[in-house]
């Protein structure tokens, strides 16, 4: 989260090149996705982050990480023998332990298929330190030794519903390569 904030700060001051929508492919992280028109992407070697209205209001993030990489809070780790429900449970444990996500509330946790992979979809809300409420839709799955997560997070007021359909379209274009 600290790194994410740093990235957001850098973006704010405009020190990083941003790119417009279109096809995106990461050979390092082995995925491809179609970035929606009007969304800008931030170059980072950690994950793909894109936004239309600015990352403090809404953003989508796609990340691939080694499944066994330790998490910040929970000492549990993912593995490729886990069922999607077990992976979802671990991610919920991690998120609900993150104190940046105040008043964390799980709204939904259901199975999902992402690019043909059995995974999960969780929906949760939280408050930031200023008291604004955000909602995040979080898809995840384990493939081989990697954990992929694709999320959309936005302020509930005005922003979340506005770009939800666009995010779902983006999700449909996601491919592990």
């Amino acid at each position: 989260m600290k790194k994410l904030l740093l990235v957001l700060l850098v973006l704010l001051v405009g020190c990083v090149t941003t790119h417009d929508g279109g096809p995106y492919q990461s050979s390092d992280y082995k995925f491809a996705v179609e970035i929606p028109d009007g969304w800008r992407r931030l170059d980072t070697d950690k994950y793909l982050m894109i936004t239309r209205d600015g990352p403090f209001l809404q953003y989508a993030l796609i990340q691939q990480r080694p499944a066994d990489r330790p998490f910040r809070y929970t000492q549990k780790s993912l593995n490729n023998r886990m069922l999607p429900q077990e992976a979802a449970g671990l991610i919920i444990d991690e998120l609900s332990s993150d104190r940046n996500l105040q008043n964390f509330r799980l709204i939904e946790n259901v199975p999902a298929r992402i690019d043909g992979h059995e995974g999960f979809r969780i929906l949760f809300s939280y408050n930031d330190k200023k008291g604004s409420t955000f909602k995040t839709l979080y898809y995840g799955f384990v493939s081989g030794n990697s954990f992929y997560n694709i999320r959309y997070s936005a302020a509930i007021r005005h922003y979340f519903d506005k770009d939800l359909a666009t995010f779902e379209q983006l999700l449909d274009t996601f491919k592990v390569i």
């Binding site: 910040r72 549990k76 332990s97 105040q102 964390f104 946790n109 259901v110």
Partner: protein
């Protein structure tokens, strides 16, 4: 986080620059502008903490903790200072007091105590920080601001969890909860806290048990001593200190009360809730110890056996699944209508490829709990079981 703490510290110090020099620590709080501002700041920090969703709510338990605090409260302290105890949902071992008398105690440290005397000793320690105005003393005696800032930074950066806690706290809270006061003041709080607990009629010998209990917990979990022990003298030194005091000043004094039974009855639900927090963080040893402690208080609790099963299932070491299965079966035997252990057994069979057995347990789970929160997953498992033709 370091930057945030630095910023907060600078703000505080800049704020402090406009005030007169150090205020006499024994001055009445109401007459001290400096202290009034400190209390206002503490209230602001508490408001953030109270609205963070981190508080553990159990009105009966809170009443009980506040009852113990009232019993401890010395008669000769300022009437402006009244103590209020709040509980934070956090399995880490910590407790901290704001200068205005609001004391936050983590579920983790409460869950590890054995009796009311130990609770009283902990609260008396924290109350001493307030009564003797330790925050004022630290802030009023800062000789080197840069050194002070560095200390706050260094201490709060010590572990991820302290950084997390500090996110909610300003300087007063961070000093109380994360960095601690000076070692001398912590020793003073240990010593005077002992006196306060003794005067309230508690068995102060329990302080050794409390500290040894916590020392063992820290060792078994491989934890750095982050909070309650942050800049305190180390536990060994504290145990040595209290042994000296008990052997000399308190020698021959009548033993006080422990009130173990009432403590256990009031705390039992918290112990189990804290197990869930430990489990969430993957602290399997602490979680198991917690649930075993709960089962000594309530031996036939199906939820506790279910949680014990979850601990073993999620840990997944050799023979853990077998042990987990036994725990789930016990939970079912104690409560035939308990759906969750059926699902858990179903999961074990499902992953073992025993789809016919898994199906039986998943179906029972949905029969018992048609609107289970994870119904969508269970239905998916049932579909797979049927597809494999083993249904």
């Amino acid at each position: 986080m370091k930057y945030l703490v630095t910023l907060l510290t600078f703000c505080w110090l800049a704020f402090g620059c406009t005030t007169p020099g150090p205020v006499c620590v024994y001055e009445d709080p109401a007459t001290s502008q400096y202290e009034t501002m400190l209390w206002q700041r503490a209230q602001e920090e508490q408001a953030i903490l109270n609205n963070s969703g981190l508080l553990y709510h159990n009105s009966e338990l809170e009443d009980y903790l506040n009852h113990v605090a009232r019993r401890l409260q010395p008669d000769d302290i300022s009437s402006d200072l009244s103590f209020k105890i709040k509980i934070i949902q956090d399995p880490n071992l910590n407790a901290f007091a704001f200068p205005n008398g609001v004391i936050y105690v983590h579920t983790g440290i409460l869950a590890r105590m054995d009796n009311e005397a130990q609770l009283a000793l902990l609260l008396a320690h924290e109350m001493t920080h307030c009564i003797n105005k330790h925050t004022m003393r630290v802030l009023g005696n800062i000789k080197s601001r840069s050194k002070f800032i560095a200390t706050v930074q260094e201490t709060s950066a010590r572990t991820a969890m302290t950084q997390e806690l500090a996110k909610f706290l300003g300087l007063t809270g961070s000093m109380a909860a994360v960095t601690g006061y000076t070692r001398e003041l912590e020793t003073e709080a240990d010593h005077i806290g002992l006196d306060i607990a003794a005067n309230a009629g508690y068995d102060i010998n329990e302080v050794v048990r409390l500290l040894e209990h916590l020392k063992q917990e820290l060792r078994m979990e491989g934890l750095v001593e982050p909070y309650f022990f942050g800049t305190h003298p180390n536990v060994e030194q504290r145990i040595a200190n209290v042994r000296v005091w008990l052997d000399n000043e308190y020698r021959g004094k009548t033993a006080g009360v422990k009130n173990a039974l009432i403590f256990q009855s009031k705390l039992s639900q918290l112990i189990l809730d804290n197990v869930s927090l430990d489990l969430r963080l993957g602290r399997f040893f602490a979680a198991r110890r917690g649930v075993e402690k709960f089962l000594r208080i309530q031996p036939d609790d199906p939820q506790a056996y279910y949680l014990l099963g979850e601990i073993y299932r999620q840990r997944g070491q050799e023979d853990d699944l077998k042990t987990a299965m036994g725990c789930y079966q016990k939970a079912i035997a104690l409560d035939l209508s308990f759906a969750a252990p059926h699902k858990a057994i179903g999961l074990i069979h499902y992953k073992d490829g025993e789809k016919h057995l898994a199906k039986k347990y998943f179906e029972t789970c949905l029969l018992l709990s048609p609107n289970a929160p994870d119904k969508a997953y269970i239905q998916k498992y049932l579909e797979h079981c049927s597809k494999n033709g083993e249904g």
